[in-house]
């Protein structure tokens, strides 16, 4: 789904998106999502994905995703489990080479020039370990130094990040002994240290306590207000509706709808709209034996 910067009024399911009910086996070639002729990547967008495609063995995880994340937007990526969110974000951040398609970061072709593309990105991947034998402060320092930053800046920002994320007193604790939420927060710090133009966060609020989550939301909101771009994936519709200004609904490796949150949800709540788009709601008549009376 292409999203020219003057935001279009409505972008619901349909239009140039490949039919979502396309059976995986019948897909003809690697680039089926481009029937009307490929739109060129948008150089003004923070992230511009075209025809991203990835298959693992027999499973097609992402089947031709087109997406434009306008610079300065707070973009939510929502979808059911196994929709291809993580795969898409991995391909958009240089962690997973797509079978076909391209990803542009502020006009730079990420897979043609990974170094230039990655410099502008801060990434919080989901489901990967950290170098957990380092302390929290060491890990954030490590990320900063890997980015080629100088020692003083790294030291200053590490301190500030740990304080902002409420990890200051655990700065010298080994990450292996952190709780799940603390681990998420320290990983977020490693993604922020080099002040990237665009942040891509896969499930950033998972296991994070409500207070820290509110702090993180404030940090991200401030970052967007100052011109940065944030892409988050999440299961929590409520959160996305409150926090994000743009949203894309992904299911079965396709984009079902994309645009501003208000345009996508119409007069429904985002959650209801999501369920309408994705389907799969069961009628509650079954499981009669589960009713206790």
């Amino acid at each position: 789904m292409v999203d020219p910067t003057p935001v279009p009024p409505v972008a619901p399911a349909g239009a140039p998106v490949p039919a979502p009910d396309l059976a995986p086996g019948t897909v003809p070639g690697p680039l089926p999502g481009t029937q009307p002729g490929p739109t060129p990547p948008d150089p003004a967008a923070a992230l511009s994905l075209r025809g991203l495609w990835k298959r693992f063995g027999e499973k097609i995880a992402v089947a031709g995703i087109d997406l434009d994340v306008p610079a300065g937007s707070f973009y939510g990526l929502v979808g059911p489990n196994g929709a291809g969110k993580t795969t898409t974000l991995s391909m958009a951040t240089g962690l997973l080479r797509p079978d076909a398609g391209s990803a542009h970061v502020h006009g730079t072709d990420l897979w043609a020039d990974p170094a230039a593309g990655k410099r502008q990105l801060g990434v919080l991947p989901d489901g990967v370990r950290l170098f957990d034998r380092l302390t929290g402060a060491q890990l954030v320092t490590y990320a900063g130094l890997l980015r080629g930053m100088d020692r003083d800046t790294v030291a200053e920002r590490t301190g500030e990040l740990l304080a902002a994320l409420d990890l200051a007193k655990d700065a010298n604790t080994f990450v292996v002994d952190y709780s799940a939420g603390m681990t998420k927060k320290i990983a977020l710090a490693t993604a922020l240290i080099h002040a990237p133009r665009t942040l891509v966060l896969d499930e950033p609020f998972e296991a994070v306590d409500p207070v820290s989550a509110a702090n993180i939301r404030d940090i991200l909101a401030g970052y967007v207000a100052s011109g940065g771009t944030v892409v988050v994936s999440s299961h929590v519709m409520d959160l996305v509706q409150r926090m994000c200004d743009h949203v894309a609904v992904v299911a079965g490796g396709h984009v079902l709808a994309a645009g501003t949150v208000d345009a996508v949800r119409g007069d429904q709540s985002l959650e209801d709209r999501f369920v309408d788009l994705v389907g799969g709601r069961q009628s509650t008549e079954g499981l009669a034996w589960l009713r206790s009376s």
């Binding site: 240089g94 997973l96 080479r97 380092l134 490590y142 930053m149």
Partner: protein, 528 residues
């Protein structure tokens, strides 16, 4: 309930085949190997039993004792090796304790080590085929012995689980476990030398084995294995005593397991207090560049991750091993100390990315250059390993009193360290094989990884050997033929070849890394 547990275990085993062809092949190779060993053992014992039943009985008792002991003790070191039926996973099902215990016990036999032990125990019972009654007794003993293995191992692991849950303790135990492992070889050499040089006295050995077996048969480990022998000798009283020892041990182990499990089921594992460190450590001492950062991280891991520090713990033992194997300080074997150490250390980074596991994603997402990644991993090994092996070189020359060999030895050491590091830097960006995951025991080999590991390591070792020939040949000539002049040649050639291989290896590895970093990440993720 028991049948359900066995079915669950079989399903779990079957499912590992679906994950990859290599795992299936690895499993089949392992199974065939196990069957082969069991077959040889059974045939050997039957032949021996026909010929010399007393000796056969003694050997059965000794080897059997070791097997039971192994079952009891090894899981304490190689924790988490088989957690498929961790009792914690059944906590929420509310299974009556008695049934849970029975199910877990029987399912414990359904594993490769369990099946191999059971087959071997039952098979060797037929060493007494000339006296059917002894066969019967031995079969009973075999069943009891297998039960003892499984129940005893569950008892020790469950009872000590609270200790094993502490990360600190696990790490200490793990590193400590390397010491006896390394010393097994020299211990055998020592026993060999104690049995007298020259032709081995068959009777003396036989006498010693029988005496040892008589003692072992009184212990809980050896008693079940001695049933057949006692019945064969017609010593009914002895057989009864051994049976009682076995049954009592089994009962005690069962009760301990029962009690420990009851406690474990209501006290879920806790992480315990976290470790702390002061300041930034190496990160504030190494240069503030990507290369320096990778080096600082690598150095930190060498000290803190048991998978690395285990190999550091081995280094001081190398001279001990070589002294014993060489039979004294004067032998040429002891001179191999420094090159051998250099080789081990240079080789130790050959699985570095696999050791990072998915944490490697940080390197990929930050876009670290291959140059920084490769040099950062190689430099700590070169500096620390270089120091250690140079000290070893001087010490070994001094101890052996062969100062004339110093130049040759230095050439061999420097050359080996540089070549091995260079080859490791190149191959580790190309040949990834699954290794123990972060936090796992270093002894825990990932299932079915044997083949991939073997191929990758053989390729790397052959490369090191081939590239070392230019200084290996003059070095050996200089030392063995007493030609100090050739020693100086070795030093020059070793240093030159080493530097060239190191630079080319790192450069090649860096290029491969730059091209394939995302693929490398996918590979470690798929091994997750």
């Amino acid at each position: 309930m028991v049948a359900q547990f066995v079915r669950l275990k079989l399903t779990l085993m079957g499912n590992t085949f679906r994950r990859s062809v290599w795992q299936t092949i690895g499993f089949l190779v392992g199974a065939l190997y196990g069957l082969f060993v069991v077959g040889m053992l059974v045939v050997g014992m039957v032949v021996l039993g026909t010929d010399d039943p007393v000796l056969a009985g003694s050997i059965m008792i000794l080897v059997g004792s070791l097997a039971v002991l192994g079952w009891w003790v090894i899981p304490l070191f190689a924790f988490g090796v088989d957690a498929t039926l961790d009792p914690q996973r059944f906590v929420l099902f509310g299974i009556p304790q008695r049934r849970l215990l029975a199910g877990l016990a029987v399912a414990g036999v359904v594993s490769i080590p369990g099946i191999v032990t059971a087959l071997a125990a039952l098979g060797v019972s037929f060493a007494w085929w000339r006296t059917p009654l002894a066969v019967l007794a031995a079969l009973v003993g075999a069943v009891l012995a297998v039960a003892l293995c499984v129940v005893g191992s569950r008892a020790t692991t469950t009872a000590l689980a609270p200790l094993l849950e502490s990360r600190r303790y696990r790490e200490v135990v793990t590193i400590a476990a390397f010491v006896p492992l390394v010393l097994v070889g020299p211990a055998f050499a020592w026993v060999g030398s104690q049995l007298g040089g020259g032709p081995v006295d068959g009777d003396a050995v036989r006498g010693m084995v029988t005496r040892l077996a008589e003692i072992a048969a009184w212990t809980p480990f050896g008693a079940p294995w001695g049933l057949g022998a006692a019945v064969h000798d017609g010593a009914w009283g002895l057989a009864l005593v051994r049976l009682v020892v076995t049954l009592v041990t089994l009962a005690v182990a069962w009760v301990v397991w029962d009690k420990a499990l009851a406690r474990a089921l209501v006290t879920p594992p806790t992480a315990g207090a976290g470790g702390r460190a002061k300041g930034l450590g190496f990160f504030s001492r190494f240069p503030a560049t990507p290369t320096g950062a990778v080096a600082a991280r690598t150095a930190t891991y060498w000290l803190r991750d048991p998978r690395y520090s285990g190999s550091i713990a081995v280094v001081p033992l190398i001279p001990v091993v070589l002294l014993v194997v060489g039979g004294g300080a004067g032998s040429e074997i002891f001179l191999a100390l420094a090159p051998f150490t250099a080789w081990i250390l240079g080789f130790s980074i050959s699985a570095d990315i696999a050791y990072d596991h998915t944490a490697f994603a940080l390197h990929v997402s930050t876009g670290v250059s291959g140059r920084a990644d490769r040099w950062g991993r190689a430099l700590p090994v070169l500096v620390a390993g270089g120091l250690v092996s140079l000290v070893f070189a001087v010490v070994s020359v001094a101890v052996a009193g062969r100062w004339d060999t110093l130049p040759a030895l230095l050439g061999l050491t420097v050359g080996t360290l540089l070549v091995a590091t260079g080859v490791s830097s190149a191959t580790s960006a190309r040949l990834l094989y699954p290794v123990a995951k972060p936090g796992d025991s270093p002894f825990k080999q990932p299932q079915g990884a044997a083949m991939a590991t073997f191929v990758a390591q053989s390729v790397a070792m052959l490369l090191v050997l081939a590239l070392s020939i230019p200084f290996l040949v003059p070095g050996l000539v200089a030392i063995l033929a007493d030609l100090p002049a050739v020693g100086w040649v070795t030093l020059v050639v070793g240093a030159a070849v080493g530097v060239v291989v190191l630079i080319l290896g790192v450069r090649w590895g860096a290029r491969a890394y730059d091209r394939r970093a995302p693929e490398l990440l996918q590979k470690v993720m798929s091994a997750a």
